[in-house]
Symmetry: C2
Subunit: 456 residues, 2 copies
């Protein structure tokens, strides 16, 4: 039999602490519960830090860099040309003409052997210009590049017509005078110097970061292990998808929803189970799974409301888990604590309540404590229709966010489905959570509200 | 030997068409080239439509639903209770009291056997109220639910004290009068009815959509096959990460960058190769790989500039591929066409040019033609420093976007690194592309510009 409204006097303390029986406490605010979930995870990861994994670069996409990486070499590794053109001694092109007219005077230089990318060129003799390709090493002595478009002629001599360096009457090229030293040269280390910090530990590795590691010559990287989650769905009425329903039964959406959300958020779902409404079985299974898998976090769905058969509440009476109400709709009933020392969260059983609980509490905690996922993008949007929210509660509706016609404008949001937490079809048609915060009951069309984009 | 500025008279026509040699054409605009890339991919996928794959729900996250899915059954499958409370005949609670006072009169009903979720209850006799749990099937005859909080007493009788239905002197409960029919009842099919469209083909499957499929009892789903890409990086100077450099050589960042970007965008990179600057080898390898793998798209990086050794340009002279300039910086040189009938794109060789080419041209085309990825989030942001863009070019800088302090405000963006396309460390420190469009050269601090978020 359930005992509604039995929040402990102090949720971070011992549930067995002395307090008047059945004395209803005001529900916890959304912010208070979010802090409690973050603190729980932070303590868990402090006590048992995440391990690391060594992986190839491609497999590391979306993972978190475990430790600072310093550049093993400089980028670029050597001074090279930014353009297809001629490598020169800038002193050879010192202002030779009037220097004041609308076109600089041209200086004729002998053409040296061309420098393809990937080669190590000989020193450039004074008075010569070497055809050089973008990215090719600047020859010793050269300190500037003149783009091919500024040369006369403005195309390279055919390679076979270029005699060996020092041969008689090499072809000549005329180049503009007044070229400053360093023009179109990418200095060695101009992007990053050997030994400098390349990436900080904790960085989420996207294509750009992986590209940098590759450019630095690294083909493997050490990332943080994913947080491991044990996910339990409860309810005698719950049947796995793919199996037929008996009257009164429904298919299990929560395992798929929560597992997808967790994996999208960078966690690893170690094991999922659907458990019947037997408190004893729940307790036994949970302890066995915890001992076997040592997850970082346990999440249950269902069995924490005010009914007569609340399997999670009843099964975990003796554990350090507290069941409480959050001033939120849906997702008001919540459980939080530890089982066998492992952080434990209990979400309500309705699919939309699970999603809202995950987004409002667990996802921000994972972001903050483990570095993944990125917080949802939060935008302002104008409500397209009148809406109402229950007194004293932060209502979270599902909606379709419509971006502004031009960047910088304010988008709109239309609510999809009603506030009820079983509307999983409406959830699937939504791309945003719409916040109707506590302290206000009427939200007429045109009200600017905060939305969280579910796909960003 | 290269021939700069040899854009064909008509890029969608035959490169061998009659035109004056070396007659420079104005560079193509960013929008024109984006259209050309989209049209190329659209034609390719029209001629050879994407296949499909059958997969479990969890593996389908981020994939595209291949065809419309109709609901095989209704959700909820049966009328059920929205609350823990009492299932009643609303007629038994018709206004029995004054109906006008500040508290409704109470009506006493006999308590029937409780209805747990997952069971099929017997019909509810008139004059009785059955304890019912959230999600449990409404018994035949019942048409409303009174929440336990409104009952007197406001907790359920212990199950063992509830006598079998029809037994003498059952426990009684007092419930408020004036309960409307349908109160706290979730009607069968109130979320979706059997046969109604559940998800449209082309939908990107996130947690919410997968949760709906699970709720509908489906444990597998048919998704579109990923577009298959052949990715070639060129250059004598390019060495795979993990291998030592000789003087003049650099490590290959492009394969990692482009493969990560493509995979993040939902494509499957079938094969990657680093090729030396041999036009003959490039041509031979490419045709062999195309025959073996039949990719949907080929992408090369490097070898399309104005130098003397432009392996992609030279190797594909005889193919239906056009090399042109786009009025964009970086990423101006581009190649587009078909090889052996397969859509072909050539990107420039600098890492940042590859990323900008991918983001500006290929990613939007993939979004539009295949349905994945979602377009980058485009936001307005205020430049934190003065910047300049070359005349007539759309400059794409890398920057760090700083969101507004409150949703609805305008964020800021600070540029990271210079405009040069070799700055891969600066790229890795950025989270946005910053657009300085053509037609304007000066962008003082405070200018509002459009940014594309690279991680959203």
């Amino acid at each position: 039999m359930s005992t509604p409204h039995t929040e402990p006097a102090n949720e971070s303390g011992d549930a067995s602490g002395c307090r008047p029986a059945r004395s209803p406490r005001p529900p916890r605010s959304v912010a208070e519960h979010r802090d409690a979930v973050r603190n729980l995870l932070a303590a868990g990861f402090r006590e048992r830090p995440q391990g690391t994994e060594d992986t190839d670069l491609i497999s590391a996409r979306g993972r978190i860099l475990a430790a600072d990486v310093a550049a093993p070499g400089s980028l670029p590794p050597f001074a090279n040309s930014q353009m297809d053109g001629y490598a020169v001694h800038s002193a050879d092109l010192a202002a030779a003409g009037n220097g004041t007219g609308d076109s600089a005077a041209l200086v004729e230089l002998a053409v040296a052997a061309p420098i393809p990318a990937g080669s190590e060129p000989p020193a450039l003799a004074r008075g010569t210009a070497a055809p050089i390709m973008t990215g090719a090493m600047l020859p010793p002595g050269a300190d500037a590049v003149v783009p091919i478009e500024q040369a006369v002629p403005d195309s390279f001599p055919a390679p076979e017509s270029t005699p060996p360096a020092g041969a008689a009457s090499p072809p000549a090229v005329r180049l503009p005078s007044g070229v400053p030293a360093g023009q179109y040269v990418r200095g060695a280390g101009s992007d990053i110097r050997a030994g400098e910090p390349a990436l900080n530990g904790g960085t989420v590795l996207g294509p750009g970061q992986l590209g940098l590691l590759a450019a630095l010559g690294l083909d493997r990287v050490t990332v943080r292990a994913r947080p491991r989650v044990l996910l339990l769905t409860t309810g005698d009425e719950v049947v796995a998808p793919g199996h037929p329903l008996q009257p009164g039964q429904i298919h299990d959406a929560n395992t798929t929803l929560l597992r997808s959300l967790l994996e999208e958020a960078g966690a690893q779902v170690q094991l999922t189970r659907v458990l019947a409404d037997s408190p004893q079985e729940l307790r036994d299974r949970l302890h066995a799974d915890l001992a076997a898998g040592q997850p970082d976090l346990v999440i249950t769905s269902g069995g924490i409301s005010k009914g007569a058969y609340e399997v999670v509440k009843q099964g975990l009476e003796a554990e350090d888990v507290h069941f409480l109400s959050v001033a939120m709709q849906p997702g008001g009933p919540q459980g939080i604590g530890r089982v066998a020392g492992i952080p434990f969260l209990a979400f309500p059983g309705n699919p939309v309540s699970c999603v809202v609980s995950f987004e409002m509490f667990l996802r921000p905690a994972l972001s903050s404590v483990t570095g993944l996922p990125r917080p949802r993008l939060q935008l302002s949007a104008v409500l397209r229709e009148d809406s109402r929210s229950p007194a004293g509660k932060h209502q979270v509706r599902r909606g379709r966010y419509l971006p502004p016609a031009v960047p910088g404008g304010t988008g709109e949001v239309e609510l999809v489905g009603g506030p009820s937490s079983h509307l999983v079809h409406a959830l699937a048609a939504s791309n945003a959570l719409v916040h109707l915060p506590a302290g206000r009951e009427s939200f007429p069309a045109g009200t600017e509200v905060t939305v969280w984009l579910l796909d960003r």
